[in-house]
Amino acid sequence: MTATHNFGTSPIRAASTADTFKAALYVTTATVNAATTVYSSTNEVSGTGYTAGGITVTNATAPSSTNTSATAGVGYWTPSANLVYSTVTLTTAFDTVLIYNSSQSNAAVSVHTFGAQTITAGTFTLTMPTNTTTSALLRLSTT
């Protein structure tokens, strides 16, 4: 979590700051899934108040890991604030959010799906889970 994607501020990669991550929404007809490797504007939602590329993910908490050199564990990370798309109108149904690394050629990080939604002059909020080993948004088994 601090190599290709630098969620924290002490990465292996030659950088001293965390990368910037963004969250883009996709319509129900989009093919965005575990095979997605990079952000694309194809089938991204569009509408009043929404900017292509989505919103910046608040990342004030570095990833955590429970493993030591001798034991396996879990690496985990959760955005430090909910994803909020304020005062938007998105009339085409959408059901997917892609989190991607805009500092690393828009490389995909994760895809999350939910029931189809539309928004009319309103706010779409994705509440982030508690940042624990069992509920964090991103969880990796380590060896």
């Binding site: 979590m1 575990a34 995909a108 990080v109 939910f114 009319t120 994705l126």
Partner: protein
């Protein structure tokens, strides 16, 4: 309460409010809709994800 609508800001006393929710293994979602004379003028939704079915860290490694 003032509601942002497609017709501008309106007092909720002028609007019909409808609410709903979904609760399953994937998500807890709630939404609120406001109608003015039968027309949808505001809809907001709030999704809480419970699982990450397609989480896929690409070329990431642990440090």
């Amino acid at each position: 309460m003032i509601i942002t609508t497609t017709k501008g800001e309106m007092d909720d006393s002028l609007l019909e409010k409808r609410e709903g929710s979904i609760d399953n293994d994937i998500e807890l979602t709630t939404w609120v809709e406001y109608y003015h004379e039968g027309e949808l003028v505001h809809r907001s939704a709030h999704v809480t994800l419970k699982t990450s079915p397609f989480t896929n860290l690409v070329a990431a490694s642990m440090a």
